[in-house]
């Protein structure tokens, strides 16, 4: 029989029982949209978290430190040695030391971070106001320091002068005693949003000029991410400690995969219920039409075609339930995100995207939903194909 006719028959039958069709479809839609909603939430959170940690190039960078070792030092010589490792393309240092920010008669403890633009970019560092400027006399402050400077819009401090006392510890300078470099002046070029504790960022050359010889940390850029373990070994053989954020990201992914499975299971429960509803509908539909099926058989319709006719109905539920479920899941996700952001912005936060609708996942869901229809229809369709026409007609 022509597939078009089978499709038409299935469609006609579904339309003669509109309410039942709609209710059954709603079940499938709820199941699929629940899965889409929950798993897209997991996807979104995962992206949010891994972006937050990495700034996007997690797999390209290795962090290098000394651990607690007093023997190995992170100085220019170390940078040269590490740069010579062939899996490593580039190395940038950073210095993190203590100091004080000064305002007329008040002082505040501050962490002073020396790093150049490249390093800050790698760290996913981006000022909310102004920008990073690679000039010796420039500095980027955080909002915690802006608060110390005064109330109001931090914007107004851009271009203003700040005065710092910088502590040069002896294990950074190699000198006999700790030393204080007083009244160092910088111009604010950018402000980052960070309320935790006071931090001031400036080019590390400003600190080396003051006698700092050792760095706190290095970031090494890999030629390619797959080299990470070789590069780390090479660096660790020199006595340094390494950290690869790729590991953390992989761990996060693992945790989120479990999270996704848990959330999908919740949705799956809804889908199982919907599947039972679909099974029930198809079975009732068969029992209701058992005389029609007997008639079709007497008229000479092949078992295979009868099977296909019922399978078509089941798969229609799967495909349309899947499509509508995906669309509704996305709509609910967008609405939930908007509501969340509404409150987040009201509370002074930034808008975030906590739902991510992965096209691959959505396509997978459509296939999955179609398969649900297929497998749910399997038994009723086979039963329909096996109907004994005479048995049915005898009970007229």
């Amino acid at each position: 029989m022509d597939k078009k006719i089978l499709l038409k028959l299935a469609y006609r039958n579904l339309m003669t029982h509109r309410l039942r069709t709609l209710l059954t479809l709603t079940g499938v839609i709820i199941g699929i949209s629940a899965i889409v909603f929950l798993v897209s939430l997991a996807f979104g959170l995962e992206r949010l978290v891994s972006r937050e940690i990495t700034g996007g190039n997690a797999f390209q960078l290795i962090d290098i430190g000394t651990g607690n070792s007093q023997i190995v030092k992170l100085d220019n010589e170390a940078i040269q040695k590490i740069k010579s490792i062939k899996e490593i393309k580039n190395v940038e240092p950073s210095i993190s030391i203590g100091g004080k920010g000064k305002k007329t008669d008040v002082e505040i403890d501050a962490t002073i971070i020396g790093a150049d633009k490249q390093y800050l970019n790698w760290s996913g560092f981006s000022p909310k106001w102004g920008k990073i400027i690679d000039e010796p006399d420039k500095a980027v402050i955080n909002t915690a320091y802006a608060k110390f400077l005064g109330e109001g819009d931090p914007n107004k401090y851009l271009g203003q002068k700040i005065t710092l006392d910088i502590l040069i510890p002896k294990d950074y300078s190699g000198e006999a005693e700790d030393r204080k470099a007083e009244n160092q002046e910088f111009l604010i070029s950018g402000i980052i949003k960070d309320e935790t504790n006071v931090k001031i960022y400036t080019d590390y050359h400003n600190l080396t000029k003051l006698g700092v010889k050792n760095y706190s940390q290095l970031k090494a850029e890999l030629v390619k991410p797959s080299d990470a373990s070789y590069a780390r070994k090479a660096v660790e053989n020199m006595g340094y400690r390494t950290q690869y954020i790729g590991d953390t990201v992989a761990q996060i992914e693992q945790i989120f995969n479990i999270f996704k499975i848990i959330l999908a299971s919740f949705g799956l429960i809804a889908l199982v219920v919907a599947g039972l509803g679909l099974f029930n509908t198809l079975t009732i539909s068969l029992l209701e039409r058992i005389k029609e099926v007997a008639l079709m058989k007497i008229l000479g319709m092949k078992k295979e075609d009868i099977n296909r006719m019922f399978m078509t109905e089941a798969v229609i539920f799967g495909i349309f339930g899947g499509m509508a479920g995906i669309i509704i899941g996305i709509i609910f996700g967008i609405i939930a995100n908007a509501i969340l952001n509404h409150f987040a912005i009201r509370a002074g936060g930034d808008p975030v995207t906590i739902f991510y609708f992965s096209p691959l996942f959505l396509a997978g869901m459509l296939i999955f939903s179609t398969l649900v229809g297929f497998f749910t229809g399997f038994y009723p369709a086979r039963r329909a194909a096996k109907v004994d026409a005479l048995d049915v007609l005898r009970y007229e």
């Binding site: 006719i5 006609r12 003669t16 078992k303």
Partner: protein, 236 residues
């Protein structure tokens, strides 16, 4: 020559040593006993006999809907029980039309589509099937009943639509099992008139089961059954 057109005076149905037994609980019930029967292409066979004597069982076996316990049924050189279920279904759909006492319909289709259905089963295109159905409906004077659902028609109209569905594939044989059992005399007469015309004008083989003696003279041949056996076989 139209290959659907049977050659006149040739045997179209040959039944040999046909037995049909049913298991009813523990007992074996013989519904048909040693039936030998040859039906010619030009025959209009009227079958009658008391209720339960095996008329419906015989028709069902001829149509290949029911299986014999023993014996052979040949329809124009085809031993129909040597075919697979699906093959027999196709054979039936092409070569035979069936009218039941209570017509059955596909409820989601209108009358025209129901009548076209046997052609759709054979894989014909929808447009062609519908136009054939339309023609048959015109022939049976029910063209104006195409749109409504068949279940909304009167008994007589339903039986004529049922006949239309039986002949839409242009079959050799039309089997009618007490088709007028539920009709008033006017509707019955009309249906019988069409059956007679199918036999006389269109040269179709008709096998009709009826209790109504008024219609016995329509047949070219009259078969009386009793307790699963043919007890009388007279040619008019």
């Amino acid at each position: 020559m139209d290959k659907n057109q049977p050659i006149h005076h040739q045997t179209i149905i040959r039944i040999e040593k046909l037995h049909k037994k049913f298991f009813t609980g523990k007992h074996l019930f013989t519904a048909l006993r040693d039936i030998d029967l040859e039906i010619k292409a030009t025959d209009f066979v009227v079958i009658y006999g008391p209720s339960g004597c095996g008329k419906t069982t015989l028709l069902n076996i001829i149509a290949g809907i029911d299986q014999p316990t023993a014996g052979e049924v040949e329809v124009r050189d085809t031993e129909i029980f040597k075919l697979s279920d699906d093959q027999r279904g196709i054979f039936r759909s092409k070569k035979m039309g069936f009218i039941h006492q209570f017509p059955l319909w596909i409820k989601s289709l209108n009358t025209l589509e129901n009548i076209a259905f046997p052609l759709l089963i054979e894989g014909e295109a929808e447009d062609y099937a519908l136009s054939c159905a339309q023609n048959v409906m015109e022939e049976l004077k029910i063209a104006d009943l195409a749109k409504p659902k068949p279940t909304s028609l009167s008994g007589g109209e339903q039986q004529r639509a049922s006949l239309a569905r039986a002949i839409v594939t242009n079959p050799w044989i039309i089997l009618a099992d007490e088709p007028t059992g539920n009709l008033d005399s006017h509707a019955s007469d009309l249906l019988m008139k069409f059956l007679e015309r199918l036999n006389k004008k269109h040269k179709r083989t008709i096998i009709l089961v009826t209790h109504n003696q008024d219609y016995w003279p329509l047949g070219t041949r009259r078969i009386e059954m009793k307790d699963g056996e043919i007890v009388r076989d007279t040619h008019n």
